[in-house]
């Protein structure tokens, strides 16, 4: 509802929208110049139209109007020589208004909350009083919700609001009695359900469910107007090209719909000039945009990470969404219905995305785009691989054994490995899925999953089961291309279980743990990350890295994060697009870091602050020698293979045989 209005702001958007109105610019209580100090726009070259002088002009003009423009709608089209620049500045400030507030702004708003303010300006509501009422009311409701998460009425409200059109806003505001309010909402919900149900499609079920709201609510309830919300280190938003909210890391998507509308406005504005918006920098925050098909991903970060790194993280979020729905389905859905609410399909998956973002922040594997495997004796790893190799069934393509969230071993189908390999990112997504699934409770899980880097349009069927209940540290993951293969694959698990009992593997695995840096025997070395590159003898192998436990002084969460931030900084310097480096020696406040990249490896080391350059270099030589010696224990050296394709000549790549499935996966019939 907000989007078309937001697009409408610029008068450049030609998506079939109702209510044609003259182009108008709405300026609310915006204190433009102090909102976003030092704004520079990382848009691609062609934006020469936006001259600095224009910007200055705009700022001045807006400042000038600030005093009298409180709640006033200004409908005159801008008279500057460059109207485009003007509108861009306005929307930037609108975004800034929400993301980077300043004291003046808050005082201005008084009791009315800001989200509401921005919203009401955008939605042309000039009267201010009713919003107050509604706001206090909905606060009350949210509170209730937190107290009893099972309270259905509250959930109902929460889930109903977003689907209601803009016309309902006024009605909601008028509600004073909570009982009545709930009843109205329910009636609407019911109407909608029934309305959807009678459309006479093949499956009535596929029509329902817009009202569904997951029973678990964590960050979703956060008050998006609170300071604490703004102070989150990294926000991630996903929206559709029509500006419909799909996901927000903190706060509910519906409360943020106007913010997302502004984001989309920015994106489509820049797009209208045949450009792509990439990032916006302010003093405190970096805003990074990523457009992937019909989805727009936005990251607002105060973490000082490089734009490249943040974009990489957004890509992981995109891949995780693909892994649940496939790229083909998503584009098909949006081809049919531009303003489809994708949350309908992602309902219940927020936890998976939340989990992913937490992992991205705390696990360096994502930064390095490599997998971390648990160090175990190579003989044990070989015997585990052999067990997996023997337990096969037709159409099984990957057998993966995981302990303590790290890889133990991975076995691939022979014909698959010829064509491609499992990408680290796909493994990360699988590990995240396991973490988010309830496999530890349920026993066995069978679920469709897409590996976006392997084939973004097809599903695999994943069998997930823990081998050591109730501890649940050793997890088996079997991927098949046949969706009916559950029983056959479950049988493989039983074989694997038996063999592992016979060989006493579980107790051996239980003893395995990550190593301490002290084992390297280099005195000043505190921590390191070592990622070897593919070299001819292990060509087409999964990219891995090794790293010791983070020990004192990096035992607390804050310190761990601080070290990771330092690594991220080193990584961004090494991989800088403008000036890539091979070697950096960085003396930080409380430690000294050295990062080194060669054709054979990438290495990040952390030393005590008193180390000398010469010492550090000797230490690294020692470290590399130690890694070489321990190689067989630290890495999966020769990933074994098996052959399960019934007729290898028919399909060399398993993905192809699955092609049929992707067309009947049911998403098309949703529309």
């Amino acid at each position: 509802m907000v989007t078309h209005r937001a697009h409408h702001l610029f008068g450049t958007y030609s998506e079939g929208r109702d209510q044609p109105r003259p182009p108008s610019i709405l300026i609310g209580r915006l204190n433009l110049s102090s909102e976003i100090p030092d704004v520079c726009c990382g848009i691609a070259p062609d934006v020469s139209a936006v001259h600095q002088s224009d910007w200055d002009g705009i700022m001045e003009r807006d400042n000038h109007q600030e005093g009298e423009a409180q709640g006033v709608k200004i409908c005159d089209p801008p008279s500057e020589s460059n109207p485009l620049a003007h509108t861009l500045a306005t929307s930037l400030s609108l975004l800034g208004n929400h993301m980077f507030p300043d004291q003046v702004e808050r005082n201005d708003s008084g009791t009315a909350n800001k989200e509401e303010t921005v919203d009401s300006f955008i939605s042309d509501i000039t009267a201010e009083e009713p919003s107050l009422d509604a706001e206090s009311h909905s606060n009350q409701v949210t509170k209730l919700d937190t107290e009893e998460t099972e309270n259905p009425e509250c959930q109902n409200i929460a889930s109903t609001q977003p689907t209601d059109g803009g016309t309902e806003d006024a009605a909601d505001n008028d509600q004073s009695d909570s009982g009545e309010f709930v009843v109205t909402m329910l009636a609407k919900a019911k109407l909608e359900e029934q309305g959807l149900g009678v459309k006479g499609r093949s499956s009535p079920l596929l029509e329902a469910g817009t009202q569904e709201c997951p029973a678990f609510i964590t960050h979703r309830e956060e008050d998006v107007t609170a300071d604490s919300w703004r102070q989150h280190r990294k926000h991630v938003f996903v929206l559709s090209e029509a500006g419909k909210p799909i996901y927000s890391r903190y706060g509910s998507e519906e409360a943020l719909s106007s913010t997302m509308g502004v984001m989309m406005a920015l994106v489509s504005f820049v797009q209208s000039g045949d450009n792509i918006i990439r990032s916006v920098y302010s003093e405190e925050h970096t805003v990074v945009f990523l457009q992937k098909g019909p989805l727009v991903l936005v990251c607002v970060s105060s973490s000082r990470q490089s734009e490249q790194q943040l974009r990489g993280e957004l890509l992981y979020v995109y891949y995780q969404i693909i892994s649940m729905l496939t790229q083909a389905s998503i584009s098909r859905i949006f081809e049919h219905k531009k303003n489809y609410d994708l949350r309908r399909l992602l309902a219940g998956s927020e936890k998976i995305l939340d989990g992913l973002l937490n992992l991205v922040d705390s696990d360096p594997s994502f930064l390095l785009a490599a997998v971390h495997c648990l160090p175990i004796a190579s003989s044990l790893r070989d015997s585990l691989s052999q067990i997996l190799q023997k337990a096969i069934t037709p159409n099984l393509v990957f057998s993966i054994l995981i302990a303590k969230n790290q890889l133990l071993t991975i076995v691939q189908e022979k014909n698959v490995i010829e064509d491609s390999r499992l990408e680290p990112a796909d493994v990360h997504l699988l590990l995240n899925l396991i973490g988010a699934s309830s496999a530890f409770q349920a026993g066995e899980i069978w679920t469709p999953i897409c590996l976006p880097l392997f084939n973004p349009d097809c599903y695999f069927y994943a069998y997930i089961s823990y081998l050591d209940p109730p501890e649940c540290t050793v997890c088996l993951l079997l991927l098949s291309t046949d969706k009916e293969a559950f029983y056959a694959v479950a049988e493989c698990k039983r074989k694997i279980e038996e063999a592992m009992v016979a060989q006493n593997s579980l107790s051996l695995i239980a003893k395995a743990h990550s190593y301490s840096v002290s084992q390297v025997g280099v005195s000043d070395l505190r921590h390191f990350m070592y990622k070897p590159f593919d070299v001819p003898d292990n060509y087409r192998q999964l990219t891995q890295f090794t790293s010791p436990e983070m020990e004192a002084p990096y035992s607390s969460e804050e310190e761990k994060m601080r070290l990771l931030d330092l690594y991220r900084y080193m990584h961004s310097r090494i991989h800088s697009t403008s000036r890539p480096l091979k070697l950096i020696y960085h003396v930080a406040e409380r430690e000294t870091l050295l990062a080194w990249v060669t054709s054979k490896f990438e290495l990040y080391t952390c030393f005590s602050p008193l180390v000398t350059k010469a010492c550090a270099i000797t230490a690294i030589t020692k470290l590399l020698r130690w890694i070489k010696k321990e190689e067989d224990r630290l890495f999966i050296r020769y990933p074994p293979k098996y052959s399960t394709t019934p007729n290898p000549s028919k399909s060399s790549r398993s993905g192809k045989s699955d092609q049929q499935d992707s067309t009947d996966n049911g998403f098309l019939s949703l529309l």
Binding site: N151, G197, A436, Q441, I445, Y487, E491
Partner: protein, 198 residues
Amino acid sequence: MVLLGGSGVGKSSLAMRFGRDEFYTTSPTVGCAYMTRVVHLSDVTLRFEIWDTAGQEKYHSVTPLYYRGAHAALLVYDISKRETFIRAQMWLKELENQYIQGSTVIWLVGNKGDLAQNRQVSVQEGQGLASHKGLFFIETSALSGEHISELLQSVAHRVYESIGGHQGGLSEWQETPIVELQHRDTSNPFASCCKVGP
């Protein structure tokens, strides 16, 4: 046995009650979870394979895999959420349209009986729908464990009766290799979700 219903109605919690008689706050099911539970009746022992399906819409395309050929289907709704009741009816429609073959016993289960103070679907309504459609009806609470064992016992009885009713039906069953009954090979391993043990 297959558990169907909208998301958040407590299918997984019910399944956990069946499987282990414990209650956890579960997170949304990914895909489908599989469990087994052995039920002793006076003269026979039934081994239930319990398919706990995900209520989320994105998994609907795979759900038929599980309810196809099930001997018992539990349509679960949340008594404190009317929309889940409507949704249960849609599941019923889908079951009736495509997969019911007379041998499936369908139960309508109103879950979250512990939230009776927020009830939106009355017992009469549930009962009414059930008798209208020829289903069995019960209200349970996975949280408190109320009526769980009764439900399991009566499902076992009904399934046993419906099987016993036409012994010939036995030959149509497919056994997975884990069951001690003689193995009958057929094309569809999903045709059976619930089997009789010795």
